[in-house]
């Protein structure tokens, strides 16, 4: 069936000068493309070194895996993921198709006289590309439907950090670009099909073309319709000549503009994914000792990788949607921080000459600059980093900028006070060091001093669990559990300092170093096998950041230890509580360190019915206390992330207990429970308290009263 001479005509009936003109335009388009790529690379190279280690191959593999599977794009938005997949694969096949023609016609043919683009290969090629065009068109049409009719809030570019009167309030330029992108691609696809149909009509008399027309099904249907409408072969040929140029020039224009428009995400997103740091928010970068200006003040203080990732942003709005600060109306959207910096980089770093330093300052309220109110609104909860489909790492960027603010003292007076207090006393409560272990006095047994005698488990208690009166009860409860399970444990007493996790995320790197070094010194002087901590914040920094300071320790969050004790039967079989419960994943335990299962497993062992909130596990919603925000007062009267979360929990019918496993969560949510008027409807409890209840109350006790 396949005619051996079947192929596609390329320049048939074109005058030599027309063919030359086409090549001139095509090479010009490629030249513009190359120049654009050069300008972008020059821009990135103006950034600081990124300190990317060796191992490009695994990075490449991981990037290809992510891109080909569309794993990150499909997450939490399956439809957008599916549509993008159609566009991606449609576009990729069409691009490969065009590249195949170039390979045959412009390279192998002229150089070696080898031609393969005919016969059966051509026919299958033709079919595949016809299908690819349909895939692409469906994807594009869905995206248009999404932008034009569905209008998800995350695609609204209005900024929480600007007022409607500001010229850059809604970034309408991006909206126009989005539509131009969709329409241009759609026009290229559509004219491609019409062109195919016109060619079939024009060459209907040629058997190698017309007999094989169904290998191009879309074109064939259109051609049948055109002939039915009375189009002659001659007018088909004439129309084909006109449309050929339109289609070709549009496609070349598209290629030329790739480095200058959002289309460049094809490359920048791949680059960003390739150079991603899987612990970007968990393990912040140290400030090099020789660096004279800590943090990021100028756009060139960001690494080339960070500048590249700014260009990877496709404004998909997932970070905007996930951000707890944005959700309560704070002047921060991670998306807008990234876009501002990108625009700033584009206006300052695109020209041949680097402008004067003063023009490179990214701090402020001008176009492209980031205001300190925006930076201080961040909770470093990592929701943005976690959800970004193209591996933009917002949290390190924000913390780097905060480091500069801290150096200049540009922060809330209360935060400044707290940092001074932590420096002076080693804790954020301003209590004397010797009172750190005062909570042990309520216990009927002595807690070992791990500095004086060897222990199996060293318990790093943390500030909130040590000093906050409400949390002290939980802390004593955990000590009792360890004691009852016969765990050989001890604490550091006044040798323990604030672990520094939040101090570091505030941007006070110098103080963090002092705290980390003090704790590492105290831990090194103690003899133990592993660390357990009741504080997810301490857990994160000891686990992920202390190694950079020479502190290598095995550490677990208390939930995994408790689960082991329950499973090994070292704690007596728990009474079934039979409570309807929901579990709040602390950012630093869940999203940061993937500790999702142990607390849930414990709840199951306690016989609780676990009802998940919509936002759980990796998508858990921050209580609002992270990143040092617990030391900065929230604006009076404004909504708070904890309120938002309480409303979410309150929507669970018949909820009895909202379970947390972080001291700061207990503080934040018990407060929010009252202020949102949910007191009496359900209670906030530490998982430790539930375990204690299940173990201490008699088997025959009546079930707890069920709240309405």
């Amino acid at each position: 069936m396949a005619a051996a001479d079947a192929t596609r005509v390329l320049f048939e009936d074109f005058s030599t000068s027309a063919v030359r003109l086409f090549y001139v335009i095509a090479y010009a388009a490629i030249a513009v493309f190359c120049y654009g790529v050069y300008v972008q690379i020059r821009k990135y190279r103006r950034g600081a070194p990124a300190g990317i280690g060796p191992g490009l191959l695994p990075r490449l593999q991981s990037m290809l895996g992510t891109v080909l599977s569309h794993r990150t794009i499909a997450r939490r938005d399956a439809r957008a993921g599916a549509a993008h997949r159609l566009i991606f694969y449609g576009f990729a096949l069409l691009f490969l198709g065009t590249a195949t023609i170039t390979l045959d016609y412009d390279i192998l043919g002229p150089l070696f006289g080898v031609h393969f683009w005919h016969g059966e290969f051509y026919l299958w090629f033709s079919l595949v590309l016809d299908v690819a065009g349909v895939l692409l068109a469906i994807g594009l049409l869905y995206m248009m439907y999404r932008r034009g009719w569905l209008k998800p809030p995350k695609l609204d570019y209005a900024r929480p950090d600007r007022s409607p009167a500001d010229p850059d309030y809604d970034r309408s330029g991006y909206r126009r670009e989005d539509w131009a992108f969709l329409w241009t691609l759609l026009a290229i696809v559509a004219t491609g099909y019409v062109l195919e149909a016109l060619r079939l009509v024009w060459l209907a008399g040629r058997p190698s073309v017309w007999h094989e027309r169904w290998w191009s099904p879309v074109g064939a249907v259109l051609a049948q319709l055109m002939r039915a409408a009375g189009m002659s072969e001659f007018s088909g040929g004439q129309w084909r000549g006109e449309l050929w140029w339109f289609h070709g020039l549009l496609a070349l224009l598209f290629i030329a503009l790739i480095p200058f428009t959002k289309v460049k995400h094809i490359f920048t997103a791949a680059g960003s994914l390739m150079f991603r740091d899987p612990l970007a928010a968990q393990r912040l970068a140290r400030v090099p000792a020789e660096q004279t200006r800590p943090g990021a003040q100028y756009i060139t203080d960001f690494s080339w990788k960070q500048l590249l990732s700014l260009d990877a942003c496709t404004k998909c709005g997932r970070c905007h949607e996930a951000c707890p600060a944005r959700a309560v109306g704070a002047p921060l959207s991670p998306r807008d921080v990234i876009l501002s910096l990108r625009e700033f980089a584009n206006t300052t770093l695109d020209s041949a000459q680097l402008p004067a330093e003063v023009q490179l300052d990214v701090h402020g309220k001008g176009p492209g600059q980031v205001a300190m109110e925006t930076l201080w609104a961040c909770r470093t909860c990592m929701a943005c980093v976690e959800v970004c489909p193209v591996a933009i790492e917002h949290v390190p960027i924000i913390v780097q900028m905060r480091r500069k603010l801290v150096e200049e003292g540009q922060m809330d007076p209360l935060l400044r006070k707290t940092l001074q207090t932590i420096h002076k006393t080693g804790n954020s409560f301003g209590e004397s060091r010797r009172k750190r272990a005062a909570w042990t006095k309520s216990l009927p047994f002595a807690v070992k001093d791990a500095r004086k005698e060897p222990v199996d488990v060293l318990w790093f208690v943390g500030d909130y669990a040590s000093f906050d009166p409400r949390n002290q009860k939980v802390t004593a409860g955990f000590a009792t559990l360890l004691h009852e399970a016969g765990v050989d444990f001890g604490i550091l007493y006044d040798g323990e300092c604030n672990a520094g996790n939040d101090v570091r995320r505030v941007g006070e790197e110098g103080l963090y170093e002092v705290l980390a070094e003090a704790n590492i010194g105290a831990l090194a002087s103690a003899s133990f096998n592993r660390i357990v901590t009741t504080d997810p914040h301490s857990y994160n920094t000891i686990r992920n950041e202390y190694p950079d300071f020479g502190g290598q320790f095995e550490i677990q969050h208390y939930t995994t230890l408790l689960l082991q004790l329950l499973q090994q039967g070292r704690l007596p079989a728990a009474r079934r509580l039979g409570l309807r419960a929901t579990f709040h994943d602390p950012c630093h335990l869940g999203r940061f360190n993937k500790g999702y299962e142990a607390p849930r497993e414990i709840l199951r062992l306690l016989g609780c019915e676990l009802v998940e909130m919509g936002r759980c596990r990796a998508n858990s919603f921050c209580c609002g206390a992270g990143g040092g925000r617990i030391w900065i007062p929230d604006p009076v009267g404004a909504d708070k992330p904890a309120h938002n979360r309480m409303r979410e929990a309150a929507a669970i019918p018949g909820l009895q207990v909202y379970v947390v496993s972080c001291p700061k969560d207990l503080t934040m949510f018990e407060d929010a429970l009252k202020t949102t008027g949910n007191e009496g409807r359900f209670v906030v409890k530490e998982l430790i308290e539930l375990v204690r209840e299940a173990l201490t109350q008699p088997q025959s006790a009546p079930p707890a009263p069920v709240a309405a």
Partner: protein, 266 residues
Amino acid sequence: MKLLVAVKQVAALEEDFEIRADGRDVEPEFLVHDLNEWDDYSLEEAMRIKEAASVPVEVVAVCIGPEQADESLRKCLAKGADRAIRVWDEAIAGSDPFAIAQLIAAVARRELPDMLFAGVQSSDHAFASTGIATAALLDWPHAAVVTQLSYSPGARSAVFRRELEGGLLHEMQIDCPAVLTIQLGINTPRYASLRSIKQAAAKPIELLSLAQLAVPASAVGEPGSLSRVRRMYVPERGRAQMIEGGVEQQAARLLQLIRELAGART
């Protein structure tokens, strides 16, 4: 041009503390030390004058105290002071504000500043007299409780405001050099990041002895003081007590107490 800022390392009490065996001070192990809050403001005022000046200005912080006072001087260096001087000799221990003023005045004679700033008072002993005594010993004009200051280094006089009772403000002019004691709130002191404090650790702190200042040991310590502490103690606490029991019992007990107290007064 030079501005001399006298600073003190003050002591703050921990929640539980014990009085020293001689009954005249708190046992040192229960004290936490820090730069006096007022001095934070006077140093900041000096730094602002330096930064706004068109001529080079040197800010020198001076502290009378033992080695641990270096910590407070480092904070001053971290915030931008050009030099730090600490004066110490075992004989200085037990000095009252007048004896301390002798030493600061001696440093001033050596440094010849254009202006000397001190805090209105220290947060631990609150004598509010060291600055003023220094002015008297130097025979310089002085003003206390300055809440706003305009002074350009090298000028022959400075204009400042003081807050008086009843919401009144006093605007005054003073000839230089002068001693001004600075009140809280005159400015917003800058934050000394730990990084800058660490960097300040590399800067030298000049240590001056009594001999270098030509101050005899008899002029400092208890012999050189005009006053001395007799005893330090915690007064007997008021009688606060929790009323236990149910609402009715509590109300009854409250009523009984009110009657008792009312009866006691008549």
